[in-house]
Amino acid sequence: MKNPSRFVPALYIFFLMLPIYWLINMSFKTTNEILGSFSLWPREFTTENYVAIFTDPTWYMGYVNSLAYVSLNTVLSVSVALPAAYAFSRYRFLGDKHLFFWLLTNRMAPPAVFALPFFQLYSAVGLFDTYWAVALAHTLFNIPLAVWILEGFMSGVPKELDETAYVDGYSFPRFFVKIFIPTIAAGIGVAAFFCFMFSWVELLLAKTLTSVAAKPIAAVMTRTASTSGYELGLLAAAGTLTIIPGAFVIYFVRNYIARGFALGRV
């Protein structure tokens, strides 16, 4: 082999994909085969794990619930972050830099800190076990993130664009909706993607704030223990399905994310 360095990316991808392959591999096996033998591909290929998930409402409602609060959270976070990011990128006001940094520190706080107060608060106001409970709780770390990302994209747009629009006769709301938002569409895409991902993978708050009606898929997955032990095949199938929405969303924003990196905001 002339150039051994080309093996490095190959090895990297191999190790990266190995657990994912194993998950998919397991999802098509029966639990007995998983526990009883070591096989690189399913010897008895079965789709019964998937069938079980798609026919049992306690399973598939987990996905529906997760998708519902994640979407709600994404829309909420981005629409609240847009005007905030605009203010940070265009105006200088007292303590703006400190406020901006403080926003970001919210992202660093562990969710566990907020689990108890949220639980108590939402129970008191009747939000417990609703999509809104989780969606609102997740805005805690998603709004700062969205503001941070959007501010980067907005600062990349010269303020002369705003001025030109005012000179042309646009009122502020009209300029914002018709010109500014389309101009930073890529940034909105990136912000939405990250909100989606973080809300999708967050487990602690989602699990604490729901019980039955809004139970997320990740919580459902932790309850597969039965009298005969863990149903590993079923769990693997559920895991495989969990990856899909994220993979799907990342496909659409892959080009924009590179731009986000270039701006140093992702």
Binding site: E163, T164, A165, V167, D168, I179, P182, T183
Partner: protein, 355 residues
């Protein structure tokens, strides 16, 4: 049509961006704001447009007070140094946007945009996005959008600065033609004295937030009111040096002397600052009163048709600008001739007193 600034000033925090300024700009011919970067040209334009709030003073348009009128209601248009267009609109929609906001009839929009595109040579690219155009075309689009709505006040903030040399020359030639038949007040900010001279009209020289002089461009150039205005309106920078008058004789700090003529003859004895434009300092004798000045050559720049020589004179750097190629060696003691009949004399406060 006229735009009047009355005691207009702008202060941000402790920084005074614009000192109280009075200016009356009129339609017909360009009004040029000439000054270096950070001299306050852009700030002044934003105040004129209503994009920024005045700290003091008021603005009148055609005698009507517009100080508190929102920019959207003022019928102004503006072109920036950066090529500003709406990236998500086609060129057609970009040019049409002020008309759409004004809810003009579709036929009329179409007619006006096509006419404007014709004038600015954009006809073939109306369907493209601004990002698919060259820099020159992007700036033409911005210009078309500024002109299409027949604004009363057109503000051009260094519109040619980001273009390459060829395109700049081309657009520079077109600009006066574009405004020839328009009834509007045109304000053009530039850092280049050459542009001011090319466009004529009136010029206001700006220095550190102050308008130092305002008047017909030729007059401002020929009769700078003070040293600062002369410095702003000279490229390469105007040469200056201390000169002492004793009886009939004027003696330069470097030792060269000559007998005073013209207005300089009437000056009382004393020390003054002499200002002389670089093209009046030449390697060969020229003009009506050439005086020999010697200096140590520091830098020489040769372009195809002219020579620029920087040299030391009495502790200052002087510049000579002349036609033709005059090779000088760096470090060489050069003999040059200053046509002192063209000199300006400034007193200690910097005010012009003779020349």
């Amino acid at each position: 049509m006229s735009l009047e600034l009355i005691d207009v000033s702008k202060r941000v925090g402790v920084e005074q961006h614009i000192y109280p300024t009075n200016l009356t700009l009129e339609a017909g011919g360009m009004n040029i704001l000439l000054g270096t970067t950070l001299s306050g040209k852009t700030t002044l334009m934003q105040l004129m447009a209503g994009l920024d709030k005045l700290t003091t003073g008021s603005i009148r348009f055609n005698g009507e007070d517009v100080t508190r009128t929102a920019v959207q209601k003022r019928n102004v248009s503006m072109v920036y140094q950066q090529f500003i267009n709406y990236p998500n609109f086609s060129v057609f929609e970009n040019i049409a946007s002020p008309l759409r906001v004004a809810r003009m009839a579709e036929d009329e929009i179409k007619r006006r945009v096509c006419e404007m595109a014709e004038l600015l040579k954009l006809s073939g690219m109306l369907d493209r996005r601004p990002s698919e155009l060259s820099g020159g075309q992007q700036q033409r689009t911005a210009m078309a959008r500024a002109l299409v709505k027949d604004a009363d006040l057109v503000l051009l903030d260094e519109p040619l600065a980001n273009l390459d040399f060829k395109l700049r020359e081309e657009l520079r030639d077109e600009l006066p033609r574009l405004f020839a038949n328009r009834e509007c007040v045109v304000v053009y900010a530039t850092t280049e004295p050459v542009e001011a001279l090319l466009f004529g009209g009136k010029t206001a020289t700006l220095h550190k937030g102050r308008v130092t002089q305002f008047g017909p461009t030729g007059d401002v150039y020929r009769k700078p009111q003070d040293l600062v205005s002369a410095e702003v309106f000279s490229e390469p920078p105007i040469n200056h040096a201390q000169v002492t008058k004793n009886g009939e004789t004027l003696t330069l700090v470097s030792g060269a002397s000559w007998s005073a003529t013209g207005q300089a003859a009437a000056l009382p004895d004393g020390t003054y600052t002499l200002g002389l434009r670089p093209h009046h300092v030449t390697p060969a004798q020229s003009g009506s009163q050439p005086v020999e000045v010697d200096g140590n050559v520091m830098v020489t720049e040769l372009s195809g048709s002219e020579s620029v020589v920087h040299f030391h004179l009495g502790g200052r750097t002087w510049v000579s600008q002349s036609h033709g190629i005059h090779p000088f060696e760096v470090g060489e003691q050069a003999t040059l001739y200053a046509d002192v009949s063209q000199a300006f004399y400034f007193d200690a406060s910097g005010a012009l007193i003779a020349g």
